[in-house]
């Protein structure tokens, strides 16, 4: 499989065995597998369409295509999961689950993890940037404090 050749549907299903993949969201997961965070965007009015839907709810256009986002955003809300319901879970607790409001559009929020930040320093509206963590297929998107990325870039 060449780097330029998109994954087949079969490969995407195999990489995400526990995700409810359908015709409308498979492009998002295909992009994730290739290391891109892509959200559907209306080609006519520019509205970002999320959850993944084939038609724009603002202008009813079907000209909607997965488009890579900047990866910049703010923490809109989060919870620290101290107790999972699966008594056999081996996930280390607490797990941070956060809704990141992407800069592209008010209310456009992507559910993700927050990394490279002590739990007690996570705050609402904190600026964050996209990063990738070695987990899942083959890496998963996560967000880290925007300042952390700045330091890394300088270093």
């Amino acid at each position: 499989m060449s780097a330029h050749e998109p994954l087949s549907d079969h490969d995407v299903f195999a990489l995400f065995p526990n995700v409810m993949i359908d015709r409308d969201n498979i492009a998002h997961y295909r992009a994730l597998a290739a290391g891109h965070l892509a959200i559907n965007r209306c080609g006519d009015c520019g509205y970002w369409v999320y959850p993944h839907r084939p038609m724009c709810p603002e202008c009813l256009s079907w000209n909607v295509t997965p488009t890579e986002v900047s990866g910049q955003g703010r923490v809109f809300m989060f919870t620290l999961i101290h107790q999972l319901r699966d008594p056999h879970s081996n996930i280390m607790e607490p797990v941070v689950v956060a809704a990141i409001e992407l800069v592209e559009q008010a209310g456009l929020r992507y559910l993700s993890r927050i990394v490279n930040c002590p739990l007690e320093e996570i705050t609402l509206d904190m600026p964050v940037s996209l990063t990738w963590i070695p987990e899942g297929a083959p890496r998963s998107p996560a967000f880290e404090p925007a300042s952390a990325q700045g330091l890394e870039a300088r270093g």
Partner: protein
């Protein structure tokens, strides 16, 4: 005002409940049948008069459980002209609509809950409950096993909303805490409640952190239980020996954010505001007329949202409102100085029934035979049940 042609033209004539327990060792169908039989006896009707059934569940053709397909045969009801399955507060509304439309005359609503594996760690260690869950049609999970990208459970965004609420309105957890204490104080007086001990604010503060900042005492108590109600026309109700409890107004509520819970634009844009707005647009009774108020408490944050959406205070001001409304002696709320809240203890104390026990309690209080728990002279009750995101229901009940 919106149209409200059904005003006072439908009535609840029967209610039936099972015992509530952490482990009753019974099937959902068994619980549903017991509740249904109690409701039919309570109404004093022949069960063949029932020609509509709203069973328990989220899928129309669910087999097993307490769906209509199983209930009708198991209850020996010969003929129905309307059937559906439903859950949360909306099941009641669907059933009432069916009577009003003429698709049936007398409808039985049955709602059952098991302490399922998604609600409890101990339940997830029970092989019977695990196996039942493999074939269950009733879920609530939206995580789809993908914890990096989706919530693990539909409840976590509510936890996220608690923190967002406190920041946006520069407030603390007082509103959630007082709601929890209120419900447990009422639960302590309800012999059918699973949690019969009252709690203090300190107990609330010290309760285990589950989904930070949501704590254990913010969450309803998973139980095994069944509830049933019977609704018919006001004309038919007046022929029976029971005191009719009239449906004065109802509303459901839908918003653009029905699926991905994190995308709700703001606190006041969740679906409760739409449902309660729809209710007030249709009701002749106003907020000051309310004797009892039933805000659903799957999580305490639901109950706070329903209270604000109903208009007892402005958005973000429930903490102050509850402090001002606090009856210290009884450790309960009296909104506007008079309206009692969740007099049976709700899900936080009586047990998780998806709000079905709110309808049952409202009907029993309005009939006026709740004994030592009776709210004197109660004539009106407002019920608000559902999710921030899907099928919230607002229902105003009244008696003459």
């Amino acid at each position: 005002m919106a149209r409200n042609p059904l005003k006072d033209r439908l009535a609840v004539i029967g209610v039936g409940s099972t015992p509530y327990g952490r482990d009753l060792r019974r099937s959902e169908l068994s619980l549903g049948l017991e509740a249904a039989v109690h409701a039919i006896e309570d109404a004093g009707i022949d069960r063949q008069e029932i020609d509509g059934i709203c069973g328990s569940g989220m899928t129309p053709l669910a087999m097993g459980g307490a769906g209509f397909l199983s209930l009708q045969g198991a209850l020996g009801i010969e003929r129905t002209t309307w059937v559906k399955n439903g859950w949360l507060g909306s099941a009641f509304v669907y059933a009432a609509e069916a009577v009003f439309s003429g698709l049936c005359d007398t409808v039985l609503v049955v709602q059952t809950y098991l302490r399922d594996i998604n609600m409890s760690r101990s339940a997830a260690s029970d092989p019977f409950r695990l196996r039942a869950a493999q074939f269950s049609d009733v879920g609530g999970d939206v995580g789809m096993g993908d914890f990096a990208r989706r919530w693990l459970h539909s409840g976590e965004p509510y936890a996220g909303w608690i923190r967002r609420y406190m920041k946006d309105y520069a407030t603390d957890k007082k509103a959630f805490a007082l709601m929890a204490v209120n419900n447990r104080s009422h639960g302590a007086r309800n012999p059918d409640a699973v949690m019969k001990t009252p709690i203090t604010l300190d107990d609330y503060d010290n309760s285990r952190m589950i989904w930070d900042p949501m704590q254990m005492l913010d969450m309803d108590v998973p139980v095994d239980c069944g509830e049933a109600v019977i609704i018919t026309t006001a004309e038919r109700a007046r022929d029976l020996d029971v005191k009719p409890v009239y449906i004065h107004a109802m509303s459901l509520g839908g918003s653009r954010v029905g699926e991905f819970y994190e995308n709700t634009l703001g606190w006041t844009e969740n679906a409760f505001w739409i449902a309660l707005g729809g209710l007030w647009d249709r009701s002749d009774l106003k907020i000051g007329d309310l004797d009892i108020f039933f805000p659903y408490d799957g999580y305490s944050v639901d109950a706070v949202a329903v209270t604000e959406a109903a208009g007892f205070c402005k958005p973000g001001e429930a903490g102050d409102c509850f402090t001002d409304s606090w009856d210290r002696k009884n450790q309960i709320l009296r909104l506007n100085g008079r309206t009692l809240v969740t007099t049976h203890g709700g899900g936080l104390a009586m047990g998780r029934a998806g709000g079905a026990n709110f309808y049952a309690e409202a009907v029993r209080q309005l009939r006026g035979n709740e004994g030592h728990r009776q709210v004197p002279g109660a004539k009106t009750a407002l019920i608000g049940i559902g999710s921030f995101f899907h099928d919230p229901a607002a229902v105003m009940l009244r008696v003459d």
